[in-house]
Symmetry: C2
Subunit: 72 residues, 2 copies
């Protein structure tokens, strides 16, 4: 089961003028989001904080590569 | 108001072991998701389809750069 529910991603696609491929986009965002969250948690840990701050997200966004799309 | 609700992103952060920075990550994913959706819609249009397929998402993911993090 995906962590990111499909509904908001479906809304994203509608906003962009499209109608399908919801699951594919949801997976991409979930994978990318998890990578960023993990990397940001590492930065917080390195700074001896338990709270992840937006500065950790910033460092993570700089470093995490966008996900590869994997067909299933 | 963000298009992606904060709750699922907050869940993403929790899964990754962190506790904060929800809004920052939500914005990054919203921005990145919209870029991919727009690019994918363009690919569908080019193929004279109205339905965006996962192959359009795949082409979009290859091409869209990850978002720059902008502090507010």
């Amino acid at each position: 089961m995906p962590i990111l529910p499909v509904a908001p991603v479906s809304r994203l696609i509608r906003e962009a003028g499209a109608e399908g491929a919801r699951d594919a986009l949801a997976e991409v965002l979930e994978s990318y989001g998890l990578e960023i969250a993990r990397e940001a948690a590492g930065w917080a840990h390195h700074a001896k904080r338990k709270t992840v701050k937006s500065e950790d997200i910033r460092e993570a966004v700089k470093r995490v590569k966008p996900p590869a799309f994997t067909e299933r």
